[in-house]
């Protein structure tokens, strides 16, 4: 009896969650904040070095703030830029968790977006409530299929996904060019590769047009939030997510535990591709209304940074995507108000990533905010 009681007590103690680790909080919140600050400072130094005067630098940073969160339009633009980054970033994060380094989001975005457009104008007779969701789905499924090719190659032949997804990107560029020149895809009266426009019933409706017709925020923002919730659920609440994470953290342990490695690779790649395809569908159905050769605009590559910055966690990816979206929208305002080139925004983005990837450097630069650590942690 007493043995049982002491066992119960021990058990209850084991079920108590430790208070959130201070170090974890520092890594997740303070390091990114300081990293951002350092990036801004170094960005200013870069501008100084290229002969921009201090007043302009000040003006450009005010513009960065105003252009990203300073008005309804700024917030709308930030969100519009963030939606595809978050969606594709979620897919990449999911891949990273499963141990797959998918460089192919760009191609999956292109294929997904193209499929959404084609579906949209082909079935233009369908009503909005059917056509719009199905067009999104067409994008997601095509992205899944396209990424699934790389997954299958990896599972069946061992071809490394980094190489195969890069190659699939190259194929997608040319395939898109070709498809856009087919008579049933190409817009009437145009000789250049541009698709027919999607009908209104296939478009993600703009949410704030009643406020100002120039506000571009569209219903894709809900798709984005749903996707964040879905990926969180998938990774941390389901059997499949457990298998993804186990395969990524330790392929040997996953095999030992009886998980089906090749199936997991294919499913993980396909899910990642579906999210990237959804990102592409969002761009064509929410922003452009058509497909053109350059519509992916490097989102698939920026999304790699977003996924890494978000530490492959859905919530982290959401915030990282919003940050990148804000930089993009604010960067535009920097150009307008201060005449500072868009290249600088690229520099600041890169610096943020460098510093977040090097938390020890940030800790060394900023002694405040971090609990003092004893030299050498105890074992």
């Amino acid at each position: 009896m007493s043995v049982n009681e002491s066992l119960d007590a021990a058990r209850d103690k084991l079920l108590q969650r430790a208070a959130p680790d201070r170090t974890e909080f520092e890594d997740l919140v303070i390091v990114p904040l300081f990293a951002f600050a350092v990036a801004l400072i170094l960005g200013a130094v870069t501008m100084l070095a290229t002969g921009v005067d201090l007043a302009t630098i000040g003006r450009s940073y005010v513009a960065l703030l105003v252009g990203s969160v300073g008005s309804v339009n700024a917030l709308s633009e930030t969100l519009v830029a963030a939606i595809p980054l978050v969606l594709a970033g979620l897919g990449l994060a999911l891949g990273f968790r499963a141990g797959l380094f998918n460089i192919g989001a760009e191609g999956q975005i292109l294929m997904g977006g193209l499929a959404a457009v084609i579906f949209g104008f082909t079935f233009s007779a369908l009503p909005f409530v059917i056509l719009m969701p199905l067009s999104l789905l067409a994008g997601a499924l095509t992205g899944a299929f396209y990424a699934g090719i790389a997954g299958w190659l990896r599972a069946a032949t061992g071809a490394h996904e980094v190489i195969s997804t890069i190659m699939l990107n190259l194929i997608s560029y040319r395939l898109l060019d070709y498809m856009l020149s087919l008579p049933w895809v190409q817009r009437e009266g145009r000789a250049d590769p541009v698709s027919r426009s999607v009908p209104d019933a296939a478009e993600l409706p703009r949410l704030l047009e009643w406020l100002d017709p120039n506000l571009r925020l569209h219903a894709g923002v809900f798709v984005m939030l749903l996707a964040v919730a879905f990926v969180y659920w998938l990774l941390f609440r389901t059997k499949l997510g457990f298998e993804f994470r186990a395969s990524g953290a330790s392929p040997d342990a996953a095999r030992y535990a009886g998980m089906h490695a090749s199936l997991i690779i294919v499913i993980a790649m396909a899910t990642a591709g579906a999210l990237a395809g959804l990102a592409g569908a969002n761009q064509v159905l929410g922003v452009l209304g058509r497909a053109t050769p350059g519509f992916s605009a490097g989102i698939g590559f920026d999304a790699i940074a977003v996924a890494l910055l978000g530490r492959s966690h859905p919530i982290g990816v959401l915030f990282a995507g919003l940050l990148f979206g804000a930089l993009q929208a604010g960067g535009r305002q920097m150009q307008v108000d201060a005449g500072v080139g868009i290249d600088l925004i690229g520099i600041i983005q890169a610096l943020v990533i460098v510093f977040i990837a090097a938390p020890l450097l940030v800790r060394a630069i900023f002694p405040w905010g971090f609990r003092n650590r004893q030299k050498g942690t105890h074992q």
């Binding site: 005010v62 519009v80 250049d192 590769p193 761009q283 050769p293 350059g294 605009a297 535009r332 150009q335």
Partner: protein, 340 residues
Amino acid sequence: MQFHRTFRRLSLPLALFLAAPASAFTACQITDTGGIDDNSFNQTAWRGVLDAEDQLGVSGRYLESEAETDYEANINSLLGGACDIIFTIGFLLGDATQSAAEANPDQMFSIVDFAYDPPLPNVLGQVYATDQAAFLAGYLAAGMTQTGILGTFGGINIPPVTVFMDGFVYGAEYYNDRHGTDVTVLGWSPETREGLFTNNFESLDDGRAFAQNLYDEGADIVLPVAGPVGLGSAALANELGVDELMIIGVDADLYETDPERGHVYLTSVVKRMDATVYQVIERAMAGDFSGGVITGTLENGGVDIAPLHDFEAAVPAELMAELDEIRAGITDGSIMIGGQ
């Protein structure tokens, strides 16, 4: 709407605080993905704004587009009263310009290389009879080729690009007719409307590769119609030497804007966007802006071929005389391009 107006009022003082030294008239330009320093297309249009800054006292701003998804956003961010007129540079901005113009009927727009049908009341299109100048370039090239083969390629298969290629091919054919020669042009067929296209306006590598292909097929003069892409072709010509390959520039006089490799340009098919942009600013300031189209032609100086510079001595006098004759013929309508 009410909300938005309130917001605009609130942001006005901020905007004033932020704005550069105030000036009576602001002209804004949105580039396509080639960027402001592309040595040809966007840069030439921007020169028009710079000239207006010097001579008319306007202030100018530009916004570079990194991707097609930026066009609409970039136009939007220049709306809101900061710009008196917005120039959108390039055919590919046609859709975005149209929707912005329709949503903002009080804003003046002017687009290069696009004519709306029917015309929009607040958009002035700037179009160019580039085929007239390219016809001269084609005739000149046909007279200068050693191999009897000329080459051309485009950025994207859109009218403002292919119009160069049309004129170039027809010019060469006209030379054949007059001299009984058999000069052929690779890379474009005016009849089938098909040819060589890089499908971008950015990649210098493509420019090099396409020129290399044409050179390998025997072409010794190449006309790249793809903005900065052509700089890659010029780099190849620079390495091969002008005896092997000459380039014909487009948009600006590339001998001037690309001085390092100036000697490889036989001539350039100049599209004086700087002149038309300047003209539009003048009109807008004078208050007689209206929607529609202005067209640059050989006759009004809107298009032309550039001076021959280093090749002046190499081009025979009789060929120059024929060019002058053709120029007069096009202007008075006795020579129809494409034989219409």
